[in-house]
């Protein structure tokens, strides 16, 4: 299968760079989106969800809170401020994020789009927990 490049960058550091990627599934704001080689140039946002990175030998899964995605010249760049490897997410960590999100939902002056994001977050995290 054809391969392309992936870079995941957080404000603190370059989180991951790989050049043998076959497919990436990202949680774009309007739904999950699969990206293969020679996708047209794209800019989009992420909602809380799981990034699924498939290369020839391995499959990597990450949880993200938010982020920006750009695909150009067969390089997929993901800018995100909050990213965790799924393997490193234990129950306590998940519980803590869920609790924070639930607390955010309780605020009175919350906007609809914020509520949507938080709902998404809780849903995804609960599904991680049940796995």
């Amino acid at each position: 299968m054809d391969q392309f490049n992936l870079e995941i960058i957080s404000p603190e550091k370059s989180f991951l760079t790989k050049s043998d990627i076959e497919e990436v599934v990202i949680p774009a704001i309007e739904g999950y989106m699969g990206i293969l080689k020679d996708h047209i140039p794209l800019i989009s946002f992420l909602k809380p969800g799981i990034i699924d990175v498939r290369s020839k030998n391995e499959t990597l899964n990450y949880y993200v809170d938010d982020g920006i995605v750009e695909f150009k010249d067969n390089t997929l760049s993901i800018l995100t401020s909050n990213i965790f490897d799924l393997k490193e997410m234990d129950k306590n960590k998940v519980d803590k994020i869920v609790k924070d999100a639930e607390e955010g939902l309780k605020k009175e002056n919350i906007k609809d789009d914020e509520r949507y994001i938080l709902d998404q977050k809780i849903e995804v995290l609960n599904s991680i927990k049940s796995n």
Binding site: I9, P11, K13, S14, E30, P41, L42, L79
Partner: protein
């Protein structure tokens, strides 16, 4: 002429000060390496972010509908200045340089009759500005508790700025920080972040504009610009922390050297007066023996 005892005390005191400055220099050197590494690691994010925004804003055809964070409010009455300084002293001219740069800008603005609002980040900046510009300072933020520079602190400042912008409390926003060039030179910088300064405007580089956007362009842009503000502040904070350590290292190196010089000078003086005392005693003995 100080007595021998006084001199001895002074030499010991200078020596112990030298030990402290030397230790501080070593600590700063170790911290500098880490801070520099962090600053370098943080660069790709802000560069990429800038690129995406450039690509996006190139596609904005109608300035009327463009987000205000990009094009400004159309007025220029109220200027907000965010002054980023350190929380600790003993770092040479680091804080004073930023303050000097900021004060020049403040004066310029006040001469033009525009009103001024200041947010200080870091307690040293607040201490230096509160006397002259106390009534202009609307917020004083300090991250003394957080050990490392992290993005969430920067996002806190960023969100505060955006909130104030949305409440139409100001029209222009400029941040002041030290850009790290190398260990001995840090350059105070003023960077305008609202409205976004398009530095590469003159470049005739053909920007790719056949992007697919999801959701549409305007929504992405209005979502991205607030994030960019936090990113710019984070970048400034990283540069600042590298500069702070570099500046402290140089200052403490100088202090150590000066203390060494002082110890040498005092030792010579001490030896001389010791010799003088001995000679005096000898003369007294000899003249005493002669008179017998």
């Amino acid at each position: 002429m100080p007595s021998l005892d006084d001199l001895r005390k002074r030499i010991t005191s200078v020596k112990s000060t030298q030990k402290i400055t030397k230790a501080m220099k070593m600590v700063a050197a170790a911290k500098l390496r880490k801070a520099q590494e962090n600053a370098e690691k943080g660069r790709p994010y802000s560069e990429k972010m800038n690129n995406i925004i450039l690509n996006l804003s190139a596609g904005v055809s109608d300035p009327q509908s463009a987000p205000k964070l990009l094009v400004g409010t159309g007025k220029e009455d109220v200027h907000l200045c965010v002054v980023l300084t350190s929380d600790r002293g003993l770092c040479g001219g680091f804080n004073s340089n930023i303050i000097k740069k900021a004060k020049n800008y403040f004066e310029k603005i006040q001469k033009e009759g525009k009103s001024l609002k200041i947010i200080t980040v870091g307690s040293k900046g607040y201490d230096q500005l509160k006397r002259q510009y106390g009534k202009h300072i609307i917020e004083n933020i300090s991250f003394k508790e957080s050990k490392n520079i992290n993005y969430f602190d920067a996002a806190k400042v960023g969100n505060l700025i955006i909130e104030k912008f949305q409440n139409e409390e100001f029209d222009f926003c400029t941040i002041f920080f030290n850009k790290f060039k190398n260990v001995i030179s840090q350059i105070p910088q003023a960077q305008q972040i609202i409205p976004l300064e398009n530095k590469d405007k003159d470049k005739d580089e053909k920007l790719e504009s056949n992007y697919e956007f999801e959701p549409d362009e305007d929504e992405i842009l209005s979502n991205l610009l607030p994030k960019n503000i936090s990113t710019q502040i984070f970048k400034a904070m990283l540069e600042n922390s590298a500069s702070e350590q570099g500046s402290r290292m140089t200052a403490m190196d100088n202090a150590t050297r000066n203390a060494g010089d002082l110890v040498d000078k005092l030792t010579i003086q001490y030896n001389r007066s010791r010799q003088a005392a001995i000679t005096k005693e000898l003369i007294e003995i000899i003249s005493g023996a002669e008179s017998l």
